[in-house]
């Protein structure tokens, strides 16, 4: 490999390839989807929303105690009304999930253990918010009465594969989760579409013959790989800056992106060497790229065991897991090194096949 030959080919391709509509579309689609999803979704996971309407004959601490008990995971709105009728009206109109009619001297009576009457109003319809509010009410009243809870609930954070998508969604938020998938999609599209299209077009138009009059196949391949890498860096830079996506662990994020990029480029070069025609490649690309991108959308969704096992050996799902860890700054999936080993093993296999192919071509 000679740098003095690789660099001119690289410079030519960086300028020339982007003028090809197929290349432009392959870059703009994931970039555009990323920007679109970035606008549609929120960073926060959807919270359980509960509206409680109440009326109290005198000042009470019950609403504040309920807010404290609900915690940050629940979006609790407590509104006060003048009369029981007004509260009933709110519940009946489904403006409130639960209505409370709090009598005079309620707080003091609870503290003294005199079991005061508290009227709860709800509709007969199934309402998970109302159910949650009722369970919240029970524990809140016990606390107000000074009772020791029958058990101390200790929350234990366990790994996502056992925990399902809920925890990841809650931690990352749907916006970051989808943007992460777009990062993988962008890398896969550039590696497995743009790079092979550039290479196959050289073979199709026979410009490759002119190149190898002065350079070697290896020089040409190295230049194409470099083009793919630069397109990835630029496109990812755009995606991250325009969406404001910032990983909690930047080093892990960069390393995972780099490992996946190298592997996707290796596969792309292999495809480019197999297909002698860019249009043929374009036709088959949908079938080729779908199984590559799809696994990243399944990461952490709690798939059946065979699917989970398959995800453990695929490069894009492993990259998805590493990127989730990097974005959240948490160790959801554990064994980071295994992830890198799986991704790079695929890349190494592709490069070895490519080298074999080049050897035969050079011969």
């Amino acid at each position: 490999m000679r740098l003095k030959l690789i660099l001119p080919i690289f410079r030519k391709d960086v300028r020339d390839a982007i003028r090809d509509a197929r290349v432009l579309v392959a870059i703009l689609v994931p970039l555009g989807l990323g920007l679109l999803y970035g606008q549609i979704f929120d960073d926060e996971a959807p919270k359980l929303s509960i509206n409680i309407a109440y009326t109290a004959a005198e000042t009470t601490t019950l609403p504040d105690a309920l807010r404290t008990a609900a915690g940050p995971a629940v979006e609790l709105t407590v509104s006060t009304f003048d009369s029981a009728a007004a509260v009933r009206e709110q519940v009946d109109a489904e403006k409130a999930d639960l209505g409370l009619v709090i009598p005079a001297g309620f707080d003091a009576a609870v503290r003294q253990g005199r079991s005061p009457e508290l009227t709860v109003i709800r509709t007969s319809a199934t309402n998970s918010s109302a159910d949650f509010a009722l369970s919240l009410l029970d524990s809140t009243l016990r606390t107000m009465a000074g009772q020791t809870p029958p058990a101390t609930i200790q929350t234990d954070v366990i790994t996502a594969s056992d925990q399902g998508a809920g925890a990841i969604f809650e931690d990352l938020g749907p916006r970051r989760y989808v943007l992460l998938a777009m990062v993988v999609m962008l890398i896969a599209m550039i590696g497995m579409l743009v790079v092979p299209v550039i290479l196959a077009e050289e073979a199709e138009k026979k410009t490759l013959d002119a190149l190898v009059m002065v350079a070697s196949y290896t020089d040409v391949i190295a230049a194409k790989a470099l083009v793919g890498l630069v397109y990835m860096v630029i496109s990812l830079g755009f995606l991250l800056s325009l969406t404001g996506l910032s990983p909690a662990n930047p080093a892990l994020f960069v390393a995972a992106v780099l490992a996946l990029s190298v592997t996707m480029i290796a596969f792309g070069l292999l495809l480019g060497a197999f297909f002698k025609n860019a249009n043929q490649l374009n036709t088959w690309s949908g079938f080729i790229i779908l199984p590559v991108i799809a696994p990243v959308f399944l990461v952490g969704l709690g798939m059946p065991r065979p699917v989970e096992l398959l995800l453990k050996v695929l490069p894009t799902s492993q990259a998805g897991q590493l990127l989730i860890n990097a974005l959240s700054g948490r160790d959801y999936f554990g064994n980071v090194w295994l992830g890198f080993v799986v991704i790079l093993a695929w890349g190494l296999a592709a490069f070895l096949l490519l080298a074999r192919l080049l050897q035969r071509r050079e011969a």
Partner: protein
């Protein structure tokens, strides 16, 4: 080959098999420095295969070849800067401009970028230099291909069917360019279907048929050797008579017509390269 000149291309018993197909069957020849050498033959005769091996893009099955003194297999990298090729196909980057194309190849060969403008002027493309190649006519593309092949000032220039598909004007311009290169001392290795072109340009030609060289000499010698020794005489009564130049009776007849002042025109029938090819290969190109 002229024995006083250094051989730029030597081919010894070169053979190339593609599976069971014998594309080249032990051909041998040499090309002197500054010579324009033509390789003629039908489609599939082995012309392009020969060029592919001489330019290091295919390995011979057996035999040996050198270009500029270097072995085409063992010293392929040393040959690359010394040669160039005008391909049969117009393999250009359509989205680049003419100037970008030549600057790119100047960068690859490590020559100054100013060479691009010199070559654009040489092939008459200065005005179109800023236009994308996809807007060029076929003739303009062919001229750009020639310019690209001259970027590195090759000592041996290979031309694979350079005028195929060109209109007569563009073909003539290209032939003039080849003559100019010959005057500058460039060795030219040409394959073509057009016998007139080979006759006009080549110092020597080789006829390739079924992977073998069936004749190799100067066009004149080949025509003399394989052409008819006859002439068509137009007399004052507007009658045409064919006379054989090696027949004493015909010579006497011709002398009589001339003595009587009856001869209006005499056209020698020395034959063309095409006649030679038909005589050797059994069918026209």
């Amino acid at each position: 080959m002229d024995g006083s000149r250094t051989p730029m291309v030597t081919v010894e018993h070169l053979t190339k098999h593609y599976g069971a197909v014998r594309a080249l069957d032990g051909i041998s020849f040499s090309v002197a420095e500054g010579e324009v050498f033509g390789l003629l033959g039908h489609n599939g005769a082995g012309k392009t295969t020969t060029i592919r091996m001489l330019t290091g893009r295919a390995r011979p099955t057996s035999g040996r070849a050198t270009v500029a003194g270097y072995d085409v297999v063992a010293e392929r990298d040393k040959i690359k800067p010394l040669i160039n090729l005008v391909f049969e196909d117009q393999n250009l980057y359509e989205r680049l401009t003419g100037r970008e194309t030549l600057r790119f190849f100047a960068d690859l060969y490590g020559v100054p970028r100013a060479r691009a403008d010199e070559l654009l002027a040489l092939v008459g493309l200065t005005e179109a230099a800023g236009r994308k190649v996809k807007t060029y006519s076929s003739g303009m593309k062919q001229r750009l291909l020639i310019a690209r092949a001259l970027v590195n000032q090759p000592r041996v220039l290979f031309l694979d069917e350079p005028t195929r598909g060109l209109d007569p004007t563009s073909a003539r311009e290209l032939r003039n360019l080849v003559k100019q290169l010959r005057r500058q001392g460039t060795t030219v290795f040409l394959t073509t279907h057009y016998m007139e072109e080979a006759d006009e340009l080549c110092d020597r030609v080789a006829f390739l048929s079924q992977g073998k060289i069936v004749a190799l000499d100067t066009p004149r010698e080949l025509k003399l050797r394989y052409g008819q020794r006859s002439a068509v005489v137009l007399l004052d009564d507007r009658c045409e008579h064919t006379v054989r130049l090696d027949d004493p009776a015909d010579a006497e007849r011709l002398a009589g017509w001339m003595r009587d002042g009856r001869v209006l025109t005499i056209h020698s029938q020395e034959g063309t390269l095409e006649d030679v090819f038909i005589a050797l290969a059994g069918r026209p190109l």
